[in-house]
Assembly symmetry: none
Homo-oligomer: 125 residues x 4
């Protein structure tokens, strides 16, 4: 099992797999139109049963993130609109998670923005 495939028992594994792959697509690890590994290889890499991997990929296909070309394999969609939607979702999720955490620590909206800007300035140098 390669790196990046750690699962917990809070959600079904196939959903966690789908999430990992979606993240890789949105971050460009798998580029637009790129051919994905075969289901079998993918399953091997993730250390799961091929059926589980197939279900994860099927979910992603339903969301329009990947397309299947019969007999040649599965590809990342080249539909930029779909991709944009995915990115927005992931971005939304990430931001929500971050901001909720900051709020829990007692930060108000202005403080949050200031903290973000502060971080950006520091990491710019």
């Amino acid at each position: 099992m390669a790196a990046g495939w750690e699962f917990d028992s809070s959600k079904p594994i196939y959903q966690q797999i789908a999430q990992v792959i979606a993240r890789r697509i949105s971050s460009g690890t798998y580029a637009l139109g790129e051919r994905l590994p075969s289901v079998r290889d993918f399953a091997m890499e993730a250390g799961v049963n091929p059926n589980t991997m197939a279900r994860a990929l099927s979910d992603l296909e339903q969301r329009g993130l990947i397309v299947t070309e019969r007999a040649t394999g599965k590809y990342v969609t080249d539909d930029e609109v779909q991709l944009k939607k995915l990115k927005d979702e992931m971005m939304e999720e990430k931001i929500a998670d971050c901001i909720e955490a900051l709020r829990k620590m007692g930060l108000g909206p202005d403080e949050i923005v200031r903290a973000i800007q502060n971080y950006l300035e520091r990491s710019a140098s």
Copy 2:
């Protein structure tokens, strides 16, 4: 094993435990000066060996987040300075994680700030 104690194999369990408890302290789930569950109870709750829990708590004590009062138990520190430091660390970590993710998606600094503000406005209403 109660909720909130899911471990993965990427890091030692005792470090993950320490992180969970640190998060609970920083978010106020365990208040300033509050008595923590006994090591044995805590271990039971987390589903680990008391020694493992003890090690996690020992680490937190060394970081100044909790203090031990002999024969009565362990308490969250009432040192606001230590607590402030913890919060800053956790905040920093959270923000870094979020911003790195957004950057990977191709957002520039200004877009990041705008996205955050956008989210805050929407969730304010």
Copy 3:
């Protein structure tokens, strides 16, 4: 159990072990950068459980006196600054112990210095 490993019940064994090893480092018995015996061998030599020895060594590592190189062993630090700090601490401790004893016997500061000088002169010849 080889010589030099006598423990009393006044302090935890792992602390006494750490003290013995620290003393050996400060006195040059274990030289700068030298590889230490393996945890298991060390434990055998001291007549304690490997875990106990590991804890002692872990404490020393945290104090910056030894460093661990994964899968090859533990080494005395080659950081002369750390070593200097250790020596100063041990020197301070030794001197304090000695002077307090002399004071208890009723010697004033001048008498102490004179006694020391006297001893040095006698042992020089």
Copy 4:
């Protein structure tokens, strides 16, 4: 067993006991001419067999540090000369121990004196 009675296996216990008591006499814990606890009580306090304690006290009597008054008990000698000799011995021992340790750390005679003076000045304030 009260505090101050920790024995190791390097020397006979009765010698270690004698040393402890000698130290207490030289430091004034047991004053000149003071009556000592009964052998039985003393043995109880030290957690040893009365015979062992008796032998330790016998040694001290031979060194002229304590005297036995038949039927009333044992007393610290009121012979100041003996006491002076004891103090000198203990002082000598303490100083030798300290200086040897400092030498092992690589300090020369002048550095030793300077370190002692330095300590005295600091602890004077």
